[in-house]
């Protein structure tokens, strides 16, 4: 079909060497009769090659450690700004890379995984839920600010779930320090004043884990992990109510 007129788009594709055979031949034949156009195509190829070679050194440079995903658990240049994020990243990498599953079978030392998260969450509940004076740093009236703060510190979009359907109202939240970096603690209360803690942090190990029932002293709850983020719902409410609430939280987080 050499009689079909040659379009400008086809000429561009010719420059890029992306014209399928038949049309490629048609363009070559077309250009043979038009030296000016042929010169233009030649100039385009020359500039493309010049750009490639001008930029080649940028891609040939050794990749600095902070851009090497395999090294990103180590402290970095801008660690003061990024270290927190990196802790979260590491969790995802391990979970996503498959080695998380290997570690699962091995069980890990006692201070990792959702078992560790359960202890932290229960301890946080014990310390803060019982504090009548100042259980939270940011109140529910500043929820947007609280969510943004957690999202930034946990390197993940985090939003306090709406638990009104479970008869729970958000009190507010605070950041909690752990061996594994920062964790976010949301506190809720029911109409009787009973408190419930939702505890969230990135998971280095067990980035994905099914929902498990936990009992830490007098505090009960449920833990699970999705996509590198670990969750704990703890309180003193009866077990099945806690379980329903945990399911509600998980559903809302999975939907975002």
């Amino acid at each position: 079909m050499t009689d079909r007129p040659v379009s400008e788009a086809e000429l561009q594709a010719y420059v890029d060497g992306r014209l399928p055979g038949e049309r490629g031949e048609a363009v070559v034949a077309w250009l043979a009769d038009r030296p000016d156009e042929a010169a233009r195509m030649h100039a385009y190829r020359a500039q493309r090659d010049a750009l490639r070679s001008a930029l080649a050194p940028a891609a040939a440079e050794p990749v600095p450690p902070e851009l090497d995903l395999r090294l990103r658990t180590r402290p970095q240049r801008a660690w003061h700004r990024r270290a927190i994020a990196v802790a979260g990243m590491a969790a995802l990498f391990i979970a996503g890379g498959g080695s998380g599953w290997a570690l699962r079978g091995w069980g890990g030392p006692p201070n990792v995984g959702t078992a560790a998260l359960a202890r932290e969450a229960a301890a946080s509940y014990a310390v803060y839920a019982g504090d009548r004076e100042r259980p939270v740093e940011l109140a529910a009236s500043d929820q947007r600010q609280l969510d943004d703060w957690f999202s930034q510190r946990l390197s993940r979009p985090v939003k306090a779930p709406d638990l009104h359907a479970a008869g729970l109202q958000l009190i507010g939240g605070r950041l909690v320090a752990t061996d594994h970096g920062p964790a976010g603690l949301y506190l809720y209360r029911d109409i009787a004043g009973n408190r419930l803690a939702l505890y969230i942090r990135p998971m280095e190990i067990e980035g994905n884990d099914r929902m498990k029932n936990r009992e830490e002293g007098s505090v009960r709850g449920w833990t699970w992990a999705d996509d590198g983020l670990g969750f704990g719902v703890f309180g003193t409410a009866p077990g099945d109510r806690l379980h329903d609430t945990a399911n509600m939280v998980r559903t809302q987080f999975r939907a975002t």
């Binding site: 890029d16 010049a50 750009l51 490639r52 930029l55 395999r70 801008a78 994020a85 995802l92």
Partner: protein, 171 residues
């Protein structure tokens, strides 16, 4: 994820540097891209190519930075361009040519510049470039055509006046 993304880091650095024209800025940008990619890895559209997805993240973040720069009224770090852009000019004359082509590229509107880089240097398909820039493929083709023609004219002028003292870099 690491196995898929890590091999693309050199190309991401190259595109970032071509757009921002500053090595540290560009690497900082790529670091942001890797963080975002890590966090939203699970949410990416499985249908599209990972490379196009990463370049789209990078492109949008780069445009944000360029807009912020423009708002702050900060000029491009012109003096820093050649050294920052070219890691190590292999030879004197090569380096000069490279600076020329990059300086001319800098005179193109961002939208044409991006297409020339994505298609010509990064070798992304027209469809991928269209998805990265969020424009129809026909627009990719017309920007490619306009950008190449403009660059050709600039190069012709440059050849006529090779010792032009000051090459303006406009982003």
């Amino acid at each position: 994820m690491i196995a898929t993304v890590q091999p693309m880091v050199p190309a991401l650095r190259r595109y970032a540097r071509a757009l921002l024209r500053d090595r540290d800025d560009a690497d900082d940008l790529v670091q942001d891209v890797l963080e975002r990619a890590t966090v939203s890895w699970a949410q990416r559209r499985k249908a599209g190519s990972v490379r196009a997805w990463l370049f789209a993240i990078l492109h949008n973040l780069a445009m944000d930075r360029l807009r912020r720069r423009a708002r702050r009224g900060v000029d491009d770090p012109i003096e820093a361009v050649p050294e920052a852009l070219l890691a190590s000019p292999p030879r004197q004359e090569d380096g000069l040519e490279h600076r020329d082509i990059m300086a001319m590229l800098g005179q193109l509107p961002d939208e044409q510049c991006s297409v020339l880089l994505l298609v010509g240097v990064e070798d992304l398909s027209y469809a991928e470039a269209a998805s990265i820039l969020d424009i129809p493929q026909g627009t990719v083709m017309s920007r490619l055509s306009r950008g190449r023609e403009r660059l050709r004219r600039l190069m012709d002028e440059g050849a006529d006046a090779p010792a032009r003292p000051s090459l303006r870099i406009v982003s």
